[in-house]
Each structure stands twice: as structure tokens, then as C-alpha cells.
Symmetry: C2
Subunit: 452 residues, 2 copies
Amino acid sequence: MTSPALEPVSLIIQGAWVLTMNREREVFSPGAVALKGAEIVAVGPPAELRKRYAPAQVLDYPQGLILPGLINAHTHAAMALFRGLADDLPLEEWLNEYIFPAESRLNGDFVYWGAKLAVAEMLLSGTTTFTDMYLFADHVARAAAETGIRAVVGEVLYDFPSPNYGPPAAGLQFSEDLCRAWQDHPLIRVAIQPHAVYTCSPELLQQCGELAAKYNTRLIMHLSETLKEVQDCQGRYGATPVGHLYRLGLLNHRLLADHAVVLSVADRMLLAASGAGVAHCPESNMKLASGIAPVADLLRRGVPVGLGTDGCASNNNLDLIQEMDTAAKLQKVHCMDPTVLPAPAALSLATCGGARVLGLEKEVGALAPGLKGDLIVIDLDQPHLTPLYDPYSHLVYAATGADVQTVLVNGRVVVQDRRLLSFDLAETLARARELARGLLAKKVGNLTSRLG
Amino acid sequence: MTSPALEPVSLIIQGAWVLTMNREREVFSPGAVALKGAEIVAVGPPAELRKRYAPAQVLDYPQGLILPGLINAHTHAAMALFRGLADDLPLEEWLNEYIFPAESRLNGDFVYWGAKLAVAEMLLSGTTTFTDMYLFADHVARAAAETGIRAVVGEVLYDFPSPNYGPPAAGLQFSEDLCRAWQDHPLIRVAIQPHAVYTCSPELLQQCGELAAKYNTRLIMHLSETLKEVQDCQGRYGATPVGHLYRLGLLNHRLLADHAVVLSVADRMLLAASGAGVAHCPESNMKLASGIAPVADLLRRGVPVGLGTDGCASNNNLDLIQEMDTAAKLQKVHCMDPTVLPAPAALSLATCGGARVLGLEKEVGALAPGLKGDLIVIDLDQPHLTPLYDPYSHLVYAATGADVQTVLVNGRVVVQDRRLLSFDLAETLARARELARGLLAKKVGNLTSRLG
């Protein structure tokens, strides 16, 4: 009797635990994932997978916790170069005296290196997909493609001239060109990203909606981030920001609303009925004192919710593992109920929830056959993760991004044993320091620095 | 002309930055600290110190940020062995079904290894002093002394029999013996630690107060942690917990109140007038849905405030750098004001603030001549800390405990380049896993486990 022929696969990765985050929330301990090129072909006990597959390579983490790569549903990656430039200030002063003057000097080179700096941080801390809204989005896309991370990018659009594309009218064409340029890339998606209801005319918003429909992509924008935004919108349009989008015919499954902090009950009902998603950014909302988004309530109403860090100027890091922790704890104290947003639900926000709000649930957000090989390994052999009773709890409440050991995107090992393999970290850090010195030398806005 | 003789010192440690946290909040860049044995003799620019001192050893961190070791003002170290045992539960169920049954099985060996596990995590994440309230406090003291961390320990006292000292009456004698046993140790202090107003009779509290006065040490207890505690106290004693202590003559500079979440304006005025300190534990208060302590208001009123993680069953880590971040952000959103608790103020809580509430301000909490050599080095050469505009901002908002590179306690290098030097980490992790398996085998309370 001969054993049946084994199916060749490119890689089997195995660990003490696999959290699949699939529909059944299966957990394997020990567990393994088999990959053929960019795709997952099987997930299960290592012994079973080794009976069926002949792997070209095996990665074995006897103390590793394997889970889907994390999905950052909202950030401005290149703002990594502005991290710590200005903190603890009133919002208007922060924007007008620091952030806007700094951004007025932007160019493609700055955005490219800022995005690479952010990608280094994101990959090393377990993020395998990020959703970016910024200027010079073509350079963000290039940085992501070169560094091997998955990204949904979009050029920020508003009623003012842009240092990138020039007059407002050129923004839509720029976005359309971007959609076409990247439409066949395995890692990059382009979304249409008007900035907000207070910076975009109803006409621009509607044109954005049409473009998103034409390219079958997401319409992503800041929405109901602060009470001031809501009050101004009501004064100007006689409707809340959510109501305003509803009237404009833009409240549908294509919409991804960033922040969604200040929501009336009617807003929540409209969101739930529409199929639109929300990108929850708790740390940014806390640091800028915007408020606390009613995420537990939105989830109860069936609104799809992902998790975002926002940019580094208002967080100030891109660590989604810390963000899950904050999201869970903040909802508990907000609702005065320790049972809301338990650890598995917090992890859902950063995995399958993020995939859903981006329309990527058939590609990423879980470990299952047919999905892409985006996964991460947490190193459990550490005092703050020992002993282990519940892997979800350790991941959300005790771990940080620094516990990420190995990262795969699209089946490619981009971080191994905490070393970045897909691009030159030292060069990126050196360029980042150089660009920061240049920014300070220009004495932009109120910038002062203790930088040596 | 001969140069003057250089004064011999044991160590000069230098880095890109030194944040002294002294009264003037001096910052040196680059900066250095000179130590003679356990004591700091000078802080300043490296060139100046090298002109005055001949060091036996030099530690040079060209990309390092040097600051005082962090002070954990409230924890239950041995609960590191319960981390992740039960989360996301209503408080009563969590306590009665999981924590109390688990604690009823405690013994000195469990507490000793649990404390060592916690010390490993604390030292590696930059904590050099911790304040512990637990059972078998003699074993906590022994674990701290052996591992080379500074600690304020205390046996938890209440009106019930204890698995350690037996009948309630024996608790005071146990505490007094503990005070005597450790009174000459360079690292260990003993405080008197009644559990709370709802578990201790007025008589026990007063006896505790007398004992604290006799040994000139702190009286440390949970106070006003939840609304239920306040309401029950009002029902039973006709006063808030703060008012109750005031009537008992216990509200004075010796008191360190853990949590202090639910405070009336009168409570805040009483606290401020008394000189008592507060240990703020924001992550535990969020996770257990206790509420948000009015820390910005307490600071405005002049109440000394330190920062605590609480135990690992309700946080679930001992990382004070993350706790500073949460403390700052939580106050901002609580007050709806992004300017409250700016980064330097958050760092004060975990350094000089902690020293002050413990009465240790003449020993630790800042880098200044005459203080003890408790200091840590943050490794700035990382993507999430590059570029650097403001070291306070990076430390509080972007770093975590994993960025701690080197740690000195009492002039001794206990962590160097992220390796624990003062005790055997592998042995500690192995014993922790073994004790966890034993706990689960006993099927204590509702314990179920996915532990392999």
C-alpha cells in the first residue's frame, strides 16, 4: 500500500495557536496554515496538513500565535514624519499653526519617504493592509507596492487648490488616473477620498460618489468627527453630516465613514440601514478630545466597523494591537459595562471587520482557504504573555506590536524574527531624519524643535 | 600646568537625551549621568561630566533617551499568574467566580513566583519601583530583593481570615513583623495596606493608621473605586469613603488612595487639604468599567498623583509607558480638552509624582545629585520613534515598554540591551507555566482553559 501523493505547496507555517477569525471563529492549538504562492490552501492541525501537503518551506513557531494580518482602516501614513511635531494643543491651533503649514510644503518625495517610514512601523507591528488618505497618493501607492504591504490609497479631495494636482477640478481626474494606473496590481486598491462635508461642496461629493461607482470602489471620508462639524453642517445644510450624505444619495455600502464619533440615534439608524461602514479611531479621538464613538451601539445595530489609528500626528503610533486594547477598554468605560467589546470582538475590528468595511472580505481579514496569505505571528515566549489561558485576551490586553515576530503579505515573508526583509530600514530612517531637518530649517508655522 | 585630578565614579551613562524630571525639568541633549555606587553624583552634558569624573565604566547610548526609572504606584504583582484567566465579565462574577476562588488557593510559593514573573515584565518595560498590595507580602518582598527591583510592599488586611496570617487579628502583627524585618533593606519598604472601606471595619482602619504612624510609613488602600463602593459606604457610615476616612482621622499625608475614581467636589477638597496622595489606574478603571478618575482636576487642586497599572487580572499588563499614554488621552476626552495632561505631566505621574505619593521623593523619581541611581534608557533608533521633534511626546504617545533598552536600579545594571541580568528569566517562565497548569488542574471556580 502506497501513501497517496502529497500536494506540493510553497509554505507551511505552524505555531502553538492559530486564530482563524473565520466565520466560525475556529481556533487550532497547535495550528498551521498551508500556502500556495499568494494564497491560503488549508488551515488546521499541523499533523493533518503535513499528511496532505509537501511544503517547499516550513516556518515553525512552537511558541507562536498565528492570526490574520491586521487591517488599518484609516490613516495618513506620511504623517509619520510629523509625529510629535505638535501635541496637547487646541485643535484649531494644532491644525492652523502646525499641521497645515507643514503640509503646504509637501511634495511627492516627502510623502514617499513618509509612507515608507510608516510602512516599516506597520509591518513590524503586524499591520498587513492599510487604508490611506493623503496628498500625493500616487507616491503612497508606489511606496506600498515597493515595500510589499497591501494598501487602499486615495488622493484627498477638497474645494481648495492642492499642492499635488493644483485646481480642485483636477482632483477628480487625478483620482480617476490613479484608479486606472493601479487597477491590476495585486496589492494596491484605489478609493475615492473626499476630505469631509466641511471642506467639500455637495457637488464635489456627488462627483466623488459617481467616480467610486464607476470604478466599483469605496468612497472614504471623515464623517461626524467632532461636535463642531455636526453643528456647522446643521447650520449650513440643515442636516447632520450623515443626513447630508443621505440626501446626496451617498449613504450606501460603498461609503466608509472615518471616525463617526458624534452620531444621533437617527444617524445610527441611517448608517445601519445603508450598509455603510465605519472606521473607528479611538486613540485619535481621545487625544484630540473629539469624543467617544458609540461603537458598541453601532455593532449592535449591525453597522460594519473597522479599526484605524489615524495619522501619527494625532495618535502617535500606528500600532493596531494597542489600538484594539484602547478600543475595548474605552467602550467598557463609556458604556459603564465591562462586558461590551470583549477581546474577540476587538480583534474582529482589526481583522474581518476591517476587511468588510473595505470590501476586501473575499481576500483578507481571516485565515481560510482561498484567501490571501496575509498573516502574522506573535511571540508568546515573554514574561508579559506567560502563562497563557486565553490567546484572545493576551493579544488584545497584554501584547503590543513589538510582540510581532513574523509577517507575511500575499504569501511573501516581509518580516522574519522582527527583521524587516522587504526593504532597507536604515535608509528609510536616515531619509526620514533628513526630511525632518529640512522641515525645521524652513521654520514652517510655529515649528520649534529640540532636534539636535 | 596640570589638569586637576578627576574624581573617580563607578559609572557614567550617556545618551542623546537626558530628561531629568528634576524641579526645573532640565533636559540635556546630549546628556549624561554619573553614579558612585548606588547614588547619582552629577547630571549634565557628557563633555562636562567627563572633565570632572573618572568613571570605572561607561555606558554609551548615542540613540538613547535616558530618564528616571518609572514608579508603579499600585499593583498586585503576583496576579501576573492570573492574567487572561477571566476578562470581559461583570465585576461580581469576575471576582466571585474567578479571582476569589483562585486566590483562596494561594500560598507563598505561588506569590513568590508570580511576583518574580511580574518583576521580569516590569524591569524589562522600565519600571524600577513598584507598590504592591497582596497576600504573602513577605514573599513579594523576598522576590523584589532577590531580583534587584525597588518595592513598597504590604500585606493586604481585612476583616476576614487570610490564607496567609490566619485570623484578622493576626494581620496587624504580621504587618508589624514585616516592617521590622525589612527596615534596613536598601530596596524594600513596607507599608500598611488595609484593603478598602467595604472590607475593613473602622477599628481595623484606625489600627492600621496607628501602625503606619508608628513605623513612619504609608497607609495604602483602595478608595472610591466604584459608585457602588461610595453608595454602600454612604448607606453604612453616612459618608463617602473619603469622608469616612476623614472622620476616622486617617486623611493625611500618609494616605495613598488607590483609584479614587468616584469623588464628589467635597471629597476632592478634603483630599487636597489633607496632603494625601492618589494612585491613578486608568486602564484598570476602564477595563472594569469603574469610571474615569478626575485626575486633571485633582492635579489642579494640588493633590499629589502617581500612576499605577493595578494587577494583571484587570489591565492586563504592567507597562507604565502605555499607562501614561492612556492616562493622558483619557483625561483629554474626559475633559473634552486636548490641552489637559500634556506629555510632560503624564511622565510626571510615573516618575516624580509616584515618588511623592510614596514619600520617596528624596530617593527616586528624578535624576539629580544625591538621588538613587534608578534610571532607564529608551532606544530611539526605531521607525516609530523617528524622526524626533520632542522626546516627551515620543515617550508618552509613541513608545511602549518594549522600547526600554537598559535599566539601572540603585546604581546596578539589571537590564542591558533588553536582556534581564539580575535573575533567571527562563526558570521564572517555566515555573509560571507550571503553576498555571496546577491552578487549572484544580478546576478552581469557573476556570476552563484552552491551555494545552
